[in-house]
Symmetry: D4
Subunit: 220 residues, 8 copies
């Protein structure tokens, strides 16, 4: 049922004025929702938006949804599905960097979201601080970036290093990549929170999408 | 064996005077009990109560019990089974609100318990603070409530918001819905605990039943 | 001794090319430094920068420094001293909001830094979520902001609320205002980290300066 | 300056419609506010409310305020000051229980607030579970209570015990009374949160006022 | 290879003088050991002890061992296997109490160990504090006990209650029975640690065997 | 006022049947009580017990009490005051061991309590595991002990070592002696909790009295 | 693509000058990498190094890699695969000690790495502090060691004990072997961190390889 | 009283064979010891060692000791006093690096200990990762070091950076320099523990002496 500014499905209330109010349509967070719920949400939402994102969608869930909505597309590393018309890449460069290979899934969540919403994206993957000289090779990419996202597990130190070299806003994404006293990302989160280099702000562990969203708002 | 006020099954002592003493019969918490234990408990309990609740009962466990007790009923989202005679809905409105779709299971645990014990229940599901204007549409339901239960994961902020708008007791139920620095509900719990809006008290993470119980005691 | 890009005082190495590299001169963090160390640092730094910030400077420490550097200025709530030439207010509006009166010190650290570095600043103080309708009165200020900083202790929910209403980047600053299960700011930090409203990124507890720095980098 | 529903003092926005909306006037939390701020707030608030509470007010702060507002009254154990006209004791019994002598300050914060807002209050202090038989002597008080507040540090077990004996809502207030692995109240908080006796909800550590507020809302 | 006081199997060094030194033979902790390792250890140990315990042995592991050592016996709830000659029940009563039905596995680990080492054991299972009056029925058992073990999850309050009623040493065993803010036993552990009733000491979460061992040492 | 089994002073309920029920009179925990409260309690208690303990009594508090009760005695390291008639040393040896010199205050709390309640006490102070060979010199004392108390900060390893050498119950008292990742005793507490040597049970951090109490109950 | 000092595979940047810079070739951490990624990395790396390590490689992953690289070797307990030419055992003795049998996997990760990089390795497994006299038998091995690695779960006390007996650097490896209040290795980590015996430094929980690496750097 | 290998002062047992056994005399940790205890220990120890260290000695404590032992020397930043004959600087270079100026006190504890025990020491202070290019200037010092100690608060990332550039063992000392989500050094400790650069081992927060001790053992 349509109500003032939202669509009421009982188990879900879709914020159909999100794009008008915030510049980006509501994103459907798949985790914890059943397949029938997701189907119903996407189906109803299509009448009110020309672009729908589903995040944290597992591949088997995607396959199920795909049957009824053949035009649904899926980015496997990013675990993002979308339907509709991506925005044109008219906005400046967002640079997405990872410390390790295992951080790429989280980074792609940010990168794919940014590309679909009209941002140009550059990637530098696996330049962790154990061999930070590898970063120097990519100075040009660093110089052209309007916003930088650093995705890192372990001690999360890459955020401080990159921030110290640049003059643009940097969003840190701690990841759960690590073990033992890493506490599933807490070590990386605390590392980024306590960065001695000002200019770093942080989103939740593994929250690539959140970082992409912030970068998109900055990159206007 | 029946003893002073309780039934002694060796592995369990059933509090058959719970209803007399506390107004609600003892609730059987299924988690951690074996199927034979549950069967024995329910079977023995039937001679001493006209209403039996089993909470946190998984569906397969229910199917097993059902075979021997065909009159056992089950609410799948709430994971509650009951046997016997529900109380008549003679008590005032309890309003159960969730922040998200994924919180509904916990909310239903509260709602179903409340309905079986004679409370009228209203539901508003998925009105999280990212689009808190959705809440305004339901002012009437808010105004009629005698008690409110707010079920929320993530940052748990919905409890503060709703409390700030109303003049009835509000019970917060933090849920484990979230990830990363959510610590399986701890972030929501701490959020509700530190609510800047007085009038909020809190039960354990995912403890829908506990919230329903408190609401039932208030709603007299 | 001057070396490649920095000044070596033995106990401190001053990054005199920080402004060139990052757009803002190095900020001297007073906490944990002795008065003689601070004096020496500021004195030497004056030959290499036309604007020097000292943050977290207690008032008595300031009085001591002031004796030798009469042109040093001090913002008491912000605990920031500066020497030299502030930048002209040519950049767009940064809006600094607090949930409570006790959060103002942290907010001023952000606001003063932003004003000295050439940003226009608007303030809305004490609009916590217990009476969130107070926020509606300031819709105009919200609409004009290019970046928003939300400073909040307790459950930190104000960040989610404000983010849900706006389409600009929002930096959350959890504060240590609270008690008990607040754990000196941890509850607010976790609350903001788990915000259900995308578009929020977070800096360390009480780190007003860090938030100001990020806002300054965004507000170009 | 008066605005829609609130008074804007710049550093504070007073919610002058709190009583209309929530049944209790806004409570001024003194902790973290300067003496001049408190003076200004109370002075301005007097024109808009016939009853003003100041909580967490230290005695020396009270003495300072008292000079300008001779009609300000103070409860030393409760650390509550008030000005104006307390409500008449027309509402039913709230029973406030403590486990130990050291918990009395927190209990009085609840009790004084309840008395000023028109509730009858009974007290049972120092009946901790090390000698729980002491509780039996007070069965009459237990039986007459409409709501119960249990204030306890250490392991916080008193909340479970009392809840098991009664059929009214019980609000647990964990206190910071304890040492070592008590973690300033966390042990008591977790104890109450995990109470095996349904019917307990919990407020923040040492938050006597919050418990009083919830009890007041229930006790209608 | 036999060495001074121990048997060296390379991957394990068996303490064959443990009984002489400590009064109880070394106990083999099965968790984390492979089936071949367990076999080798038990086989070699048989030449040096007339009683061998294997704790935390899963049933399938037991079945494998049983094939080669048909005289191995197994207690399924306790997850203890033993080989050889149990001691005669010549020692006084140890009373093992649980708060709930789900705590019985841990309690049996203590009880079985105690029985095999020559202690008389009494059991009272499922007398949690939500209906603590059930405990009164067992006053005689309480009076005859020389040592008491209390096994409890949730808030762990039963240890304090029982301790307050008796004059013998009490060993608390917190269990991981609980959810949410129980943190897998931490809430119960902290509760017992902070017991307001002196006379309680505590062993690790779910460590029934450890409690049995301490009780055995006391019960001489 | 005297009631069934206890003395009611309003702010305190004295358990005058504690000795009858538990073998030791109630112990007055001074921390968090005012001087007038302590005076009143001791004064009233004297009519009902021939031995009164006050624990955690700071020296200045003692001096104040002493004025009105000249027969009050005080053990400065143990921070225990007592009045009345200590029990005769008729019970077997309790051995109190510390890892370091800084742990002696906590150890004395145990030792003094034990001596006053009729136990013989031996002490071995400062035999930490960094030079564990020092322990060997005291084998005789170890052999004669009926119960052992080990008081240790840092990593708390001494409890495991001593337990491995003896066949009597051992009570571990973790202390807050340490720094950094010691977390005010948590490291020592966890160390003792996870002792690989069975036979160790643990009391709260710095709880010398609690350990003494348990040892007293064992040492019958 | 080869770049300055590293090989750029897009998803990974191989540090081919690691051996030149640090004395040991880059180690490939298998956890979190897909089989195709591992294959590609090893294949490319072979052209730039005569020795390749893959750590944390599960057996099934190894079998897959083995198919294409038949010369790949695997140590099953250590979960290390290598390709190429191990260094000759020309360096002094490293002694690897474990407290228990379950710690051997972690210890082997250290030992195998050390052997492949040219260190002589001695092993003493299962000499935990519950029977620390077992250690005395191995005094000769202790005396010959140039560096010692102590691998221990539970309370981790073995590191302190061994350190107190020797005059060489000791690296502690806390393991996740334990349960309950062990918090997956945190108790052992804190124990080693707070060792009262100087000369101990610590690596991450279960990080056998890290300990081996440090020992290799020391053992020159 | 002299006993086998140690001196027994009752409250302290001095390990007079520590130097023989471990290569360094016992170090007296002043924190938590009274002035008379320290005096007695140093006085007695002088007959058994030609070099005595007292660590964590506050300046006023030093002044008191100095009166009786005029030959006692003191390093104020390091808070180390010593008496006797320092060893000659015959051993190779240990490089001590700090991230910030506030870390110098901890660094000096390491450096002074190392110099007194015969190691050559080089220092590089204040080269934190916010301007990591400052480190490049000191490549020569890095190249000559036999062991490196990195002292850092905040996110502790400097340890990873330096380790990635060098081929010698590196000991990380996390410091309590930081605030908010730094948790008094825990963030830095976790950062170093999770270093993505192998070759780092870690000592307790602020434990400069421990790092110096390990470096001394390595630097033979």
């Amino acid at each position: 049922m349509k109500r003032k500014g939202f669509l009421d499905l009982g188990f879900a209330k879709l914020d159909i004025e999100r794009e008008k109010r915030r510049g980006v349509p509501e994103i459907i967070y798949a985790s914890g929702k059943t397949a029938p719920q997701l189907k119903k949400i996407v189906k109803e939402f299509r009448n009110h938006s020309d672009l729908i994102f589903v995040s944290r969608l597992q591949y088997p869930q995607y396959k199920t949804l795909k049957k009824e909505m053949p035009s649904l597309k899926y980015f496997r590393q990013a675990k993002i599905a979308f339907w509709g018309r991506p925005r044109r890449p008219e906005k400046g460069n967002v640079l997405v960097i990872t410390a390790g290979t295992s951080d790429i899934g989280v980074a792609e969540e940010a990168a794919v979201f940014l590309e679909l919403t009209g941002n140009k994206v550059e990637r530098i993957y696996d330049v962790g601080v154990a061999g930070v000289h590898r970063l120097e090779f990519f100075k040009e990419k660093l110089a052209k970036a309007k916003v930088i996202i650093v995705v890192a597990g372990m001690e999360g130190a890459l955020a401080s290093i990159v921030s110290g070299l640049t003059a643009v806003p940097l969003i840190g994404v701690p990841t759960s990549v690590g073990y033992g006293a890493h506490f599933k990302g807490m070590a990386a989160l605390l590392g980024m929170m306590n960065s001695c280099s000002p200019g770093v702000s942080v989103v939740n562990i593994d929250n690539g999408l959140g970082a992409g969203y912030v970068a998109h708002l900055i990159n206007k």
